[in-house]
């Protein structure tokens, strides 16, 4: 293949895979294109192989060496897809974690508010969301969200699996965060807020400059554990079709008939992700800890 043709093929590869919202799953055609690039079979240059025109006809067995070479390069191409899945998992975890932390902070402030209605709303939110399975919430947001927005706008609008995953994980993470932050805020001595008020700080300044920094130090260990479980919960979004690590492993296991290999690779990737997040949170804790507290 010429270099220009190679680049064009690469562009055609990336466009349907990443940018189209509806293209959720990697189809086998993508794998064949990748194999092409690596040079397994030269479909583009026009040689006639009945394998590619009629994919349902079994191609003749051409010896063990070719099969092993095919399997090896399949593994390489799946490594690329695992890398893409890893990117999607990491982005999903970061975005839903950031948004969920903000949401959890507001819900924690609501639960500590003096107005009964607001506190009751906050308590209802955390009790309900912490009592429901995460898978159920993901399914509700995905299927129900499509129905809701379609009814609202009148046209058929489909929710992207990525957006549904972010929304659902944000809701779940926010509920657990709210509990952690509420406990941490309650552990900050009340004298701090009173002193800040007597110094003339406005309420939003008291929150931002006095309470939140002290609250973060207390909440950090539990928050780190929660972040690790968020990374693991992103695997559930593969159920609605998002191509993250788990989905790549599922497709690979099905197409290559080797579930053990693919799921072991997926679990190794998830283990490294959780280890990294736990290690970084421990390092952060050590950085901001005060001896004697």
């Amino acid at each position: 293949m010429t270099r220009a043709a190679y680049k064009l093929r690469l562009l055609q590869l990336r466009t349907p895979y990443k940018l189209t919202p509806n293209c959720q799953s990697i189809n086998l055609g993508l794998t064949r294109i990748l194999l092409e690039i690596i040079g397994i079979n030269n479909t583009i240059s026009g040689s006639k192989r009945s394998f590619d025109e009629k994919p349902y006809i079994r191609r003749p067995y051409s010896g063990g060496a070719t099969r092993h070479k095919a399997e090896r390069t399949c593994v390489l191409s799946f490594a690329l897809q695992f890398f893409n899945g890893l990117q999607i998992t990491v982005v999903l975890a970061l975005v839903s974690g950031a948004l969920g932390s903000l949401l959890g902070l507001f819900v924690a402030m609501a639960k500590l508010s003096k107005r009964d209605v607001v506190a009751l709303l906050g308590r209802a939110y955390t009790t309900i969301v912490r009592g429901l399975p995460e898978l159920l919430i993901i399914l509700v947001v995905y299927f129900g969200g499509t129905a809701a927005i379609t009814a609202l706008t009148g046209r058929y609008v489909e929710i992207n699996a990525f957006a549904a995953g972010i929304a659902a994980l944000m809701i779940v993470f926010g509920a657990y965060c709210a509990e952690i932050f509420r406990g941490a805020i309650m552990s900050v001595p009340q004298g701090q807020a009173e002193a800040a008020r007597s110094l003339g700080l406005k309420p939003w300044q008291i929150w931002l400059f006095v309470i939140l920094p002290q609250m973060m130090r207390v909440a950090l260990p539990a928050y780190g554990n929660l972040w690790a479980s968020l990374v693991k919960d992103t695997s559930l979004v593969s159920v609605i079709g998002l191509t993250d690590i788990m989905r790549v492993a599922f497709i690979g296991a099905g197409s290559m008939r080797a579930p053990l290999t693919f799921y072991l690779v997926a679990s190794a990737l998830y283990l490294s992700l959780t280890s990294m997040s736990l290690a970084s949170f421990r390092a952060l804790e050590r950085r901001i800890e005060i001896p004697g507290h």
Partner: protein
């Protein structure tokens, strides 16, 4: 919002409650049985023993339950040696695979929870038990483990609730419990809100029952003479368990506020 559909969904999904409860309860029982010796190993001062159990809990707490479930269900069926073994009729069924995966995962979490409890028992109590001449097994059975269990009861309750919620993952391996039935109903009726609302109500009901059970258990244990949980407000003496507790105390010749006695543990 079709109320009829919600009521219909609840009656259909109630058929899945049996499977949910059986998967949850069986895996909890198995994980409790497995995690007691494992947590003792993990809490032992011998670093080799502790680290080997740590390897197991680290892997199983660090990977998602979905991956573990798929590994057991799809991965084990790939091996010819499994397909030809005597366990194949069991491992072919999604129920037993889900049970195995959930048990392994729950054992890892419960081991860590109990380990924290065992390490939190004051050393003076262990030394006193040793001074009384109790063997190590008797120490653990009569003193250390009951105290440890009472201390970590809130964490264990969280773990049980987490298990009830994790049972919904069994729907991904075609087990028709609440979530599985709900997904099938949604694909038939195209009414996601009503069906998932019914499923959510059922899960909330189950979790409420579990929380109420653990609250009662905590209050009941708070009455015991050797209760360490002084910040637990002991429940009213008009509760149904109080006469039972009085009868037990009378049998053991002890009043509830007496000095702590080993016999009444």
């Amino acid at each position: 919002m079709d109320i009829n559909l919600i009521v219909d969904s609840i009656s259909v999904l109630a058929h899945g409650v049996f499977l949910t409860l059986s998967v949850t309860l069986l895996s909890l029982v198995v994980s409790f049985i497995l995690s007691v010796p494992l947590s003792l190993l993990r809490a032992s001062p011998n670093r080799a023993l502790s680290r080997s159990v740590l390897a197991y809990t680290y892997v199983f707490r660090g990977t998602p339950l979905l991956v573990q479930l798929f590994l057991v269900y799809y991965g084990l069926s790939q091996l010819t040696v499994v397909r030809q073994s005597i366990f194949w009729p069991l491992l072919r069924e999604p129920f037993w695979c889900a049970l195995a995966a959930f048990s392994l995962n729950s054992t890892a979490y419960t081991t860590e929870v109990f380990r924290a409890g065992i390490l939190a028992v004051p050393r003076g109590i262990t030394e006193a038990a040793q001074a009384l001449g109790l063997s190590r097994l008797m120490q653990i059975r009569l003193i250390i483990f009951p105290l440890a269990f009472r201390m970590v009861l809130p964490s264990y309750a969280n773990e049980v609730i987490g298990m009830v919620k994790a049972s919904s993952l069994a729907s991904t391996v075609t087990l028709l419990e609440i979530t599985g039935l709900a997904r099938r109903m949604v694909s038939e009726t195209f009414a996601p809100y009503e069906v998932f609302l019914a499923a959510g109500l059922l899960y909330l009901l189950l979790n409420f029952i579990v929380s109420a059970f653990f609250r009662t258990l905590e209050m009941h244990l708070a009455h015991s003479p050797t209760s360490n949980s002084r910040n637990i407000k002991a429940g009213p003496k008009s509760s149904k368990l109080w006469p039972l507790r009085q009868a037990i105390d009378k049998r053991a010749h002890t009043k509830p506020d007496d000095q702590p006695s080993i016999r009444s543990l």
